[in-house]
Amino acid sequence: MQLSATHLWMIPALPLLAAAIGSLTPRGGRKLAAGAAIAAMIGAFVLSCGALVTALAQPAVHASANFTWFALGNEVVRVGWLLDPLTAFMAVMVTFVGTLIFIFSLGYMKEDRNFTRFFCFLSLFAAAMLGLLVANSLLLLFVCWELVGLASYLLIGFWFHKPAAAAAAKKAFLTTRIGDLGLLLGLLWLYHVRGSLLCYDGGAGVLEQGSLTALAGTTVAGGFALSTAIGLLIFCGAIGKSGQFPLHVWLPDAMEGPTPVSALIHAATMVAAGVFLVARVYPLMLADQALASVPVHALTVVAGIGAITALLGAAIAVAQNDIKRVLAFSTVSQLGYMMLALGVGSWVAAIFHLLMHAFFKALLFLGAGSVIHAAHHEQDVRRLGGLGRRMKATFATFAVGTMALAGVPFLFSGFWSKEAVLHAAHAWPVSSLPLLVGLAAVVLTAFYMTRLITGIFLGAPRTDAAAEAHENSAVMTGPLLILAACAIGLGFIGTPAWPWLQSNLGGIVVEPESIWEAPGLMLLSIGLVVTGLGAGWAVYGRRRNVNASSVDPLAQAAPGLFAVLAARLGFDEFYAATFGRLNTWVAALADGLDRRVWDSLVSLLARAGEFSGVLNREADEDILNRGFDRTSATVRGVGQTYSRAQAGETHGYLRTVALAFVVFALVLLLGGVR
């Protein structure tokens, strides 16, 4: 089956339809809403596979179908659909993972009374995300970008009666909005310069050669090329959406939402949209590479931000106790990896890691969801333990996900994609710092995942909730097993020995490189993974006689460092103390101005008015009033007569007006006055 670019709109249209059905379904129609949502996702998956087949036939072509959205006077706004391997691979991943997570949600949300609304929001999210992927116009992409933000807000705050969830939703929305402002500015600037926001338009699109040459050739303030400035503004949007430093603070809080939401939106798909965006506008980001005189290249900034985020996220994850927060910071760190890969010039490696990460991180989150559901919403690692014996399927799949994330060699997909990222960083001529940061994060990743898995599944149960947990139904373990199979099997489409994905994604055939091209690097990273796992096992694996209130061994060894990491390096406090306080201060200033300056001016005026009023009254009472008194007595008499018609009944007045109009109109019509 094939699906051409002209019919690409059907992929987002299906979930949108399901969302419409869900929104009209009353609370009792649980089967209808969930059925429509899942059926739409399966349909979208089939269509995406068709699109993938079409795209792989000509991997180097950016097939687009553009049309006029509306014309406003002489300005014509055109949008369109774009089909290339990047779109197709992402769409297949989103619909496949989405389908599994939808099915998992059937079990996870079974007892929630707003079940239909949940599926309506999920479908809305899927529609927006798929629309973002197939958009050929950056305008349409921005619209969908904001829609996924809205869906994310609605879903984080799904349990809005919990104050923490409502606050987290607000925080996520506002924080990403800061990045989106940059994105919007970038798009406006681009439109101002180029008069179009179509990516590919037969030579006239903004990502095509003519436009890129013009953009790179123009210099703006500070010696920046115009393409660098616009590229960095667009990257701001990616920073916000993908939880990059310094706007990463919203992502861990977003875990207040239901766990399937965390898996779908805040691990697999939406947060990867930032990476996708940078990959989409990659020609623009690359445009300044040939220029030697610019102060900084756009991609260097991307690499720097990515490296900082990768290390930061991994370090903070070591000291978190909430399962979902560990995974959230792990997501932040892995997104940093992807940005790092983009920055060092290999967007193919970034997308490879994105796709693999989507599968195993969704697996980990769903596994965490399975644990949380079984343990009666207990998600503190310190209060779990010993679940491995009673939840064998969850334990096994979670272990697969852990090994994929940690990068255990050869069998697991995460290993191959991480190697691709590290090799790209190794080959970067500018600096070796990203490579070092990446390697450090490898150790930390293996370490915190070992800590997490031993904490949940091994040892003895530390609370009653953990002791009573039992395995969930097949509707929840089924998706786990499928995702685990993907986490093992999918890595082989991108190994150095058979770089199928790399060849097809970029449209340039990559020769099967030798695994031994940089053998030292691969051996080093394997060694680091083993070190991390071993250290984790040594510290956490052999603990005996722990209970819920035992102190973490790391906290005993280095209490200061652990506390700082556990407090997430104080970013939230820092923002509250700077931006929050600045805001309060400006508000207080404005308040003071209002009260002191303007208010006194106004009251001065009022005094003057009062004084003249007093003068007037004296004049009035003695001179004018007597005459008026007599007149008003007459008026009052007339008024009393008329007041019978004026009962104060508004409807009556309006009715009288309407009927009087009818009478006049009839007179005119029948009287022949035309």
Binding site: A71, L72, G73, H651, V662
Partner: protein, 170 residues
Amino acid sequence: MTFTFLILAVIILGSALAAALRPNLIHCALLLVVSWLGVAGFYLWAGAEFVAFAQVLVYVGALSMVVLFAVLLTRQSRAELRVDAPETRRAVWAVIAGVAVSGVIGAAVFATKWDPAPVTAPEVTVRGLGLELMGAHAAALLLLGVLLTAALLGAVVLAAPDRPEKEEKS
């Protein structure tokens, strides 16, 4: 008479009629928003894009929010959202008045001989509109600004709670 026009007419009138009949205030307000959207669609159909956008912005965007605010500010409980069914006598009179009005307008429409319609819509660009507003209609635009300011101030004065000392007097 195109198919689009008929669809739009059905949307506009259907949602307005439904709003006239629903007991739930929120439903009524939302149905009227649909009706306004239909009117915006009519403007688009007639070729007045700019007016359509203004309609969407002002009615569908802003007014609906103001209405919802008013609804939420003036209710105490869920039960109050169900407004009373109209009294029968008033409802009958209302329908009589409505039918009579549309009757005479309809009669007038059919009784008048209209010139044949121009084939294309008059060309109005946004630029042209801006020039007209700033040129020929500049005075009206200024007055409108004053009116909007006055309405804003008036709304604040009306909706603001009375000062406590005044309450003591009355």
